[in-house]
Symmetry: C2
């Protein structure tokens, strides 16, 4: 070791770090799609030459981040699931919340969602759905806009003010209603959700669904997640679900506060 | 681009690929533990200098594979959950199986497990547990030995012969019973599980629990997963659960065969 740390730090980025970024780009190539990708598809989606793609994909396969199917295509590997299961905001939170979500699911027979905020979006970390529950478009691991979903509104209303300002300054599309939400409307909604501790919202497509969402707080009273029940608007007055959702979100908060994994 | 692909391929491994391995080693440092790691802990567990660790951890944090907590420690990030959710053998399978697992969970009020085989081990991809179900040691994303668990025995019995030989040639510890399983015993168990299509097994610790497990088959009749119910031995004759577990495993097989995601 004759180099100073500064010299090493100064030199490495030019050679080494782009390789990590390229490897991560291969993983990102599976986003929005899942399923299997051929080497050619993987190379095209990652924007990397085939030889580089194959070399990096082999490293990732050796480690278990990717797996090869019988016909030589690549899929996301099981080892990522094992590692992701250690994410405190993902499975850690989920482990604390799941028994209570199951109770809510028994009681309603519909969709029960658990989401966390990532910057200005919500990420769905769990969804329980009955066989014949109304159709919704959300999937676990998927991203939802904060301004247009029940869990998103709860996470937004309980986020720091700079997150409010960033979201309010951006586009607020409501594609299903073919219009945009105004910043003034969203400000009013944020204030109401903060005041009432619950968000009641509705979606018209793919079928009319209503959502009742409430926050989950950690020991520092930070809203670390939002829990919701989503029901077909025709089947149930959403207001009748408010007490159940609020009570279960409080029970999940207590479980989160006790759990060392879900910090 | 004046170099030939061969020249590039010949040169890169010496510089570039170890960087990918080092980055993956940082992720592996969270295995067996979860929770938050300080820079010093991460560096020690990955066996990398602190400066390298910090540089790579920052890349991984930028991409979202890691996140930093308020006090500067690192945790596994949400983006890994998003990507892992695309694993066909993890969440793809889980999405197909979950409604049926919930039915079984309602019916029994105990633990319902879903596992897949990774080489000579089983990986738990889902666990539903009631608030007051008996205590079991398994966690989602964790690994289980094939020879000593219900789901493991089902996956082993339905694995190719070379997997049998590899497992039979290795150590077969039964730590809870303070003895080893003999290869002859395991051969008989494999034959019985194959013949009967179900594995009934028991564990003495942490408390006496029994497991009833059955295979999930894909469209090619490959056993892609195993489903089990784990109950306290004192509460229920495991044999009474066999019809329910077998029926639900068949229902999950049909769902998997219909689902494009769970190939």
């Amino acid at each position: 070791m004759t180099e100073s740390p500064v010299a090493r730090r100064g030199r490495k980025p030019a050679q080494g770090e782009p390789v990590v970024d390229r490897a991560l780009r291969l993983l990102s190539a599976f986003e929005d799609r899942g399923g299997a990708l051929s080497l050619a598809q993987l190379s095209a989606r990652a924007g990397l030459p085939k030889a580089t793609t194959l070399r990096l994909a082999r490293r990732l396969t050796e480690w278990g981040a990717l797996e090869r199917t019988g016909d030589g295509q690549f899929v996301i590997g099981l080892r990522l699931l094992e590692i992701a299961a250690l994410s405190p905001r993902g499975h850690g939170l989920r482990a604390a919340a799941l028994p209570f979500m199951q109770d809510l699911h028994h009681a309603t027979g519909q969709h029960v969602l658990l989401a966390v905020r990532d910057d200005t979006e919500a990420v769905l970390v769990e969804r329980l759905s009955a066989h014949r529950a109304g159709r919704v478009l959300f999937r676990v691991g998927g991203r939802l806009p904060l301004h247009a979903t029940g869990v998103g509104l709860v996470l937004l209303a309980n986020a720091p003010r700079d997150v409010h300002e960033e979201v309010l300054a951006g586009e607020l599309p409501l594609p299903e209603e073919r219009r945009g939400l105004s910043a003034a409307e969203l400000r009013r909604t944020i204030a109401r959700v903060r005041r009432e501790g619950v968000a009641v919202s509705s979606l018209r497509l793919p079928e009319p669904m209503s959502s009742v969402a409430a926050p989950v707080f950690d020991a520092r009273q930070t809203a670390v997640a939002a829990l919701s029940v989503v029901v077909p608007t025709a089947s149930l007055q959403p207001a009748t679900l408010v007490p159940a959702v609020v009570a279960v979100a409080r029970a999940v908060s207590r479980a989160v506060q006790r759990s060392p994994a879900a910090r």
